[in-house]
């Protein structure tokens, strides 16, 4: 069982995501970005390289300066999202990335650089990112 948000956890999720063609079909497809996942003090940077998720590495806060955007939630909020995905096979409406972003005054997706072009990758690739987290439904997760 891998612990969220470790490199091992992302490797397990990536293995599911990369091998399931349904995630490459409608709404999915090639996706090029590096984004951060910030859960409290723990931070991972995930690399999406075309049709695959190339994995993630743990970084410190300074590592977020380098990513296109990062998703920032408290650990208990990440846990709620991932448990919802595990229970339903995919995120239900209250727990999609779009909803979580809308529900926060500062948004879920943020950046340190303020570059609109890079920030908008969150919307351009939204479905692929959702598919990636949805793939965690098939990974045993320790919180």
């Amino acid at each position: 069982m891998a612990k969220f948000p470790s490199s091992e956890w992302f490797a397990s999720v990536a293995a599911v995501f990369n091998s399931d063609e349904r995630y490459q079909g409608a709404g999915g497809g090639q996706c090029f970005c590096r984004f951060g996942v910030k859960s409290g003090a723990q931070i991972a940077v995930v690399t999406m390289d075309g049709r695959t998720c190339a994995g993630a590495e743990l970084v410190d806060e300074s590592g977020l300066a380098d990513v296109d955007f990062y998703l920032d939630m408290a650990p208990e909020e990440w846990t709620a999202m991932l448990k919802d995905i595990a229970a339903n096979g995919h995120a239900t409406l209250d727990q999609t990335l779009n909803t979580l972003d809308l529900n926060r005054d500062d948004g879920l997706s943020r950046s340190m650089h303020g570059d609109q072009y890079r920030e908008d990758l969150f919307f351009r690739y939204n479905q692929s990112l959702q598919f990636l987290f949805d793939a965690s439904a098939r990974v045993a997760t320790e919180f």
Partner: protein, 341 residues
């Protein structure tokens, strides 16, 4: 009669740069990969008035086609080639990729609200198609990356129109009232150049539509609507990326652009505000957000106001990012009220 012409072409190829051998990379052979040598020379102005592909040898005496947009600053965006690849790779087919079987009967008032919003979204999509189409053929071939990307944007918009219409007609309802269309007319009749059209079509209307699609996805009634809005959202995000990147390029290469945009906003904001006076869309969205009529005036309207706040923050924020500072005091109160809320 026998043709006695002997081909002489074989030995000496006529080319500005023969021997070019672009190889596919890890992600295939992409449009942007071809920009090597003379083929990648993209001048600030394209004087050739024919369909001569960039890098080919121009032929003398070809009647001019009459392209009006020949300055790079008037259409270029560095991301165009990548967006083209992204658009054709991340396409969707509304007929089969949307799980229509998940649509279930809704209370009449709710169905009517959904259909009303979709009616107006169909108009938005039509406006996208017509606006892009009427400018695209005026763009010089030297900037083919932009023309190719915009072809996909047109197709994206037609698919949105298709999907929205299908949802409106598949659940016992039907299309509603035509929207006021003043903003559509403003966009379609902008004659000052493609950058002006982009300002209205993508920065103003596009930002609004993107925020509205996000809220509609959030308050979807079934997987079909959720997936439909997600598809539309990704396509709209590509449109905005092109638009913002183009405006940024244009501002950096055209001294007057920033001031021109200030004036365009001054005019556009007022037409926008006038259209906002129409209550039909606001009420329909409030009903959807409240899940029915009962709480539409309270809960639904509050969510509508939040949506408008998000739009205004996005709209003003992108202007700031472009370096076109907005004077909120000169904007119509019908717009700024949401920022103050």
């Amino acid at each position: 009669m026998a043709d006695d012409h002997q081909p002489k072409y074989g030995n000496v190829p006529k080319s500005n740069q023969w021997g070019t051998r672009v190889l596919p990379g890890k992600h295939g052979l992409r449009l942007g990969d071809l920009n090597v040598g003379v083929y990648g020379e993209i001048p600030d102005r394209w004087d050739d008035q024919t369909r001569n592909p960039r890098g080919a040898i121009a032929k003398k005496g070809v009647p001019p086609v009459g392209y009006a947009i020949r300055d790079k600053a008037d259409l270029w965006a560095d991301c165009a080639a990548d967006l083209y690849e992204e658009a054709i790779q991340r396409k969707f087919a509304p007929a089969t990729d949307i799980p229509w079987e998940t649509v279930r009967p809704l209370p009449t008032v709710l169905e009517r609200a959904v259909c009303q919003v979709l009616t107006e979204l169909c108009q938005y999509a039509n406006c996208d198609v017509e606006t892009v189409s009427q400018w695209q053929h005026q763009m010089a071939y030297g900037y083919h990356e932009v023309k190719q990307y915009l072809a996909t944007a047109t197709f994206d918009a037609t698919r949105m129109h298709e999907a929205f219409r299908k949802r409106a007609l598949c659940n016992g309802g039907g299309l509603g009232l035509e929207g006021p269309g003043e903003v559509n007319r403003m966009i379609l009749e902008s004659r000052g150049g493609w950058s002006e059209a982009v300002t209205y079509l993508l920065l103003m209307r596009g930002s609004f539509m993107q925020v509205m699609l996000r809220y509609l996805e959030r308050y979807a009634h079934n997987d079909a609507e959720r997936v439909m809005y997600q598809f539309a959202l990704e396509a709209k995000a590509r449109h905005l990326t092109y638009g913002f990147d183009h405006l940024r390029y244009s501002i950096a290469h055209d001294d007057d652009r920033r001031q021109v945009m200030q004036m365009l906003f001054f005019i556009g904001d007022r037409i926008w505000a006038r259209e906002q006076a129409d209550h039909v869309l606001r009420e329909a969205l409030s009903i959807i957000f409240a899940g029915g009529l009962e709480n539409a005036e309270t809960e639904g309207l509050a969510i509508y106001n939040r949506m408008m706040r998000d739009f205004m923050n996005e709209y003003v924020g992108v202007c700031d990012w472009l370096g076109v500072k907005r004077d909120l005091a000169s904007m119509p109160s019908r717009m700024t009220q949401y920022l103050n809320g």
